[in-house]
């Protein structure tokens, strides 16, 4: 076992998936937003909804394409770096991820084609239906990914036979209570991401005095939706914490920065945890609150990390801080959403430049919250790949050398940085251009088998006209 190779493999998986998760989170939210817009357009007939739909469809296309491209690597990486894991848990994780690919391909790719090329060819209700199907497809994707990851967090419905995990109860795997907390948590995160990106774009246009009507719609709808969803998300997040408390006590202790058993337990608000001395420095804590959060009681005993064998400790620093950053982002978003909803009820929102700036600058928050949430979940699961069953160190391809892992890490880092800088630049350019009147018919190559191609059609027609 090459420890350097292990470290590099972990960095590689973490960085590629960190890049990847931006795009699914964004597109799940956007797909739902597109469905709402199209429904509003059909029922009210207002041109503004149509203009917004066309604008966001282009951005959706771009983000969707980048998600697909970065996702291909995911389908291979399990086998390349984590071949022991993929062999042992393949009978469970393989089918789950194959369902993800199959359903996503069916619903997303098929109906996405209709969205790009079908406006003039299908009935309006069918167009709306297709938008809904794309949204459903992205939701299914998220579902299977969450089932898969939840199984790695809390494995159920399996039996160990000849060194592999054989599924014995698919119902238990798919409908595990953990899935039904974490899947809504992720879905809400995606919707909030969509809502904040839409609201921030609206704020940006208002600040620059462009597309006033549409910008107002974006700002209001985004913030009001967030005002409804954010409290629900905090509650679901609390439920997600409960599963960690019950099933992964080491992770819970690390998040809480709790080193020793306490009864009743206090809640560490901020501190700098120090693993070497198993204590917190500069801690600010609130008595009894730890028991309330952990067990909903005033005098429960909460376990500390030192009650577990040292080799089963997760790294403390990362989950401790990422969790707090996630919650912090959530609270800021909640405040913004509430103030924004209040301002838009009193019709003063468009004139409050300070608030518009705050909303505009808030667009990274949902992404940061999603990242840090995942870091908490995944780093907190360490040292296990499959919690309690298979250690990450044992899951790696045993003959992988540090040199090989370093080469692949460098190559992936370069390629990802390169293409994503351009991808984000082109998305920014689409946003800066803003809403444009409906373009001429798509270029010559109009076939519904090309999710990546949407964003370019308009410019391509122009480019060709200039050639």
């Amino acid at each position: 076992m090459d420890m350097t190779a292990l470290f590099l493999s972990r960095i590689q998986f973490a960085s590629t998936i960190t890049f990847h998760i931006i795009f699914p989170t964004f597109t799940i939210g956007l797909a739902a937003w597109l469905t709402v817009l199209e429904a509003l357009h059909l029922s009210t007939g207002r041109a503004a909804y149509r203009a917004l739909f066309d604008f966001w469809l282009k951005i959706f296309g771009m983000a969707f394409g980048l998600g697909v491209v970065s996702g291909i690597v995911m389908a291979f990486q399990f086998g390349m770096n984590w071949s022991v894991l993929s062999r042992m848990s393949g009978p469970i994780q393989g089918p789950l991820l194959s369902y993800e690919t199959f359903t996503a391909f069916m619903l997303e790719a098929t109906f996405f084609g209709v969205l790009i090329f079908g406006r003039s060819r299908v009935a309006p209700w069918f167009y709306l239906f297709s938008t809904g199907m794309v949204a459903l497809g992205t939701t299914f994707s998220a579902f299977w990914i969450m089932v898969n990851n939840s199984w790695m967090q809390v494995p159920v419905g399996y039996a160990l036979e000849n060194g592999i995990y054989v599924p014995t109860d698919w119902t238990a795997i798919n409908l595990s209570p953990v899935v039904w907390v974490r899947f809504p948590h992720m879905l809400l995160a995606a919707y909030l991401t969509g809502a904040f990106c839409v609201a921030a774009t609206g704020a940006w246009y208002l600040l620059r005095g462009r597309f006033i009507t549409e910008a107002n719609i974006m700002l209001r709808m985004g913030l009001c939706l967030a005002a409804v969803l954010m409290p629900i998300q905090l509650f679901v997040g609390h439920l997600a914490g409960d599963y960690v408390h019950d099933h992964q006590p080491e992770k819970f202790a690390a998040i809480e920065g709790r080193w020793h058993d306490e009864q009743p337990a206090s809640e560490v608000v901020v501190a700098i945890p120090d693993e070497a001395s198993a204590s917190n420095k500069y801690a600010i804590s609130i008595p009894v609150l730890g028991s309330v959060i952990g067990s909903m009681s005033l005098d429960s005993k909460e376990v500390g990390l030192t009650s577990f064998p040292r080799e089963n400790w997760p790294p403390v620093l990362i989950p401790f801080f990422t969790f707090r950053i996630m919650v912090g982002c959530g609270l800021i978003m909640l405040t913004l959403a509430f103030i924004g909803s209040y301002l838009s009820l009193t019709r003063r929102i468009g004139r409050n430049r300070l608030f518009l700036w705050a909303t505009f600058l808030s667009f990274p928050l949902p992404f940061i919250a999603t990242w840090t949430g995942w870091f908490t979940a995944e780093v907190g699961r360490q040292p296990w790949a499959i919690y309690g069953l298979l250690r990450t160190a044992d899951a790696m391809t045993p003959f992988l050398t540090a040199r090989t892992a370093a080469i692949s890490l460098v190559i992936f880092a370069l390629v990802y940085t390169f293409i994503f800088s351009f991808g984000i630049f082109y998305i920014y350019r689409l946003m800066r251009t803003g809403l444009v009147p409906p373009m001429v018919t798509p270029a010559f190559a109009a076939v519904p088998n090309r999710p990546l191609s949407l964003a370019g059609e308009g410019e391509r027609v122009l480019a060709e006209a200039g050639e």
Binding site: S70, Y99, F105, T110, T401, A443, V447, P448, R450
Partner: protein, 327 residues
């Protein structure tokens, strides 16, 4: 159940090779010309469909993982470095499709990415098959060849061979889909590519004989295998005639037939092994509960729908690509 999934796997691989084969081939041809009009037409002949074609690679990977996890784990970890390069190649050409028309000054970067990505991905796919035919070093169900255990002159030869093969397939697709300059150029290229492929096949065959590769024994045991070279030879003759007489529709299907028979040859010479002489299909298969779970949803319903969907999208895109785009 195992038979069902091994069939679906075979269909997926075959579809991938045929479909992504021609667009990878066109990517290589794209790099061989400087003529902007020809490049533009080539682009138009693949841009609408490459995405769907590549999906079959991901489908192959996840079927392999779900239904044959041991093979998935063994192959992917064994071909680590080549796969990194192949994935990067595929990513580069994938984004090239998106970014090319958004860029003006740096369009050459995406043009180069399209060409280089296609070439690298093709070469590695060929090399992988070559290494498999030759036999991977495996001890106790685990790859034991080290970082470069897959590397051999034979594997490299197969990599080069597949470049010829895909490029030939690509040229025939251009003949089928395009008019004018591009088609004429493709007609000029086909004979060279076909001869290249033939030379390669002869080389591979003699190499296999000289090295006394285990796979050659299969031919003695299973004489019915000779039906495949016979089909291929027939297809090659029809190909030559159709190129001679400029029958635009035919060459592509003939080359596809050659690929099909090559694929059939390999599949039947491997059988019942999935990784030759290391792991049989039965040994590699996931437990029944996994296969059944996949069967009742994606196998029975989604997969057929995907096939229908592929056919429909090709029907929408049938006919020649117009040379000048609609304004």
């Amino acid at each position: 159940m195992v038979t069902f999934w091994v069939s679906l796997l075979a269909i997926s691989i075959l579809l991938y090779v045929l479909l992504d084969g021609f667009d990878l081939g066109i990517g290589i041809l794209f790099g061989l010309t400087r003529d902007q009009a020809r490049r533009h037409a080539m682009w138009g002949a693949v841009a609408p469909i490459w995405d769907g074609n590549e999906t079959w690679l991901v489908v192959t990977a996840v079927i392999l993982w779900g239904a044959f996890p041991a093979v998935y784990a063994l192959l992917l970890s064994a071909f680590y470095l080549p796969l990194v390069l192949m994935l990067c190649g595929l990513i580069l050409r994938g984004v090239a499709f998106e970014f090319r028309y958004k860029a003006e000054r740096i369009r050459w970067i995406w043009d180069f990415g399209f060409f280089a990505g296609s070439l690298v991905a093709t070469f590695i796919q060929g090399m992988t098959v070559g290494a498999l035919v030759e036999g991977l070093p495996v001890t106790n169900g685990q790859y034991s060849g080290g970082e470069f255990g897959w590397f051999s002159p034979f594997a490299v030869l197969c990599g080069i061979g597949l470049c010829f093969g895909y490029t030939l397939l690509g040229a025939c697709w251009l003949i089928k889909k395009c008019e004018g300059d591009v088609k004429a150029a493709a007609y000029r290229q086909v004979p060279y590519l076909a001869i290249g492929l033939l030379v390669f096949l002869v080389a591979v065959f003699s190499f296999a004989l000289a090295e006394n590769l285990q796979i050659m024994h299969r031919w003695v045991e299973r004489p019915y295998l000779f039906i495949f070279p016979a089909i291929a030879a027939l297809a090659a003759i029809v190909l030559a005639v159709s190129v001679e007489r400029h029958r635009d529709g035919l060459p592509f299907y003939m080359v596809a037939l050659i690929f099909l028979s090559a694929f059939g040859t390999l599949a039947i010479s491997f059988w019942p092994y999935m990784i030759p002489y290391v792991m049989t299909v039965e040994e590699a298969a996931a437990p029944h509960s996994s296969l059944a779970f996949m069967f009742w949803g994606e196998g029975l319903f989604v997969y057929p729908l995907m096939l229908i969907y592929t056919v429909v999208s090709y029907r929408v895109f049938r006919g020649k690509v117009r040379e000048t785009p609609v304004h």
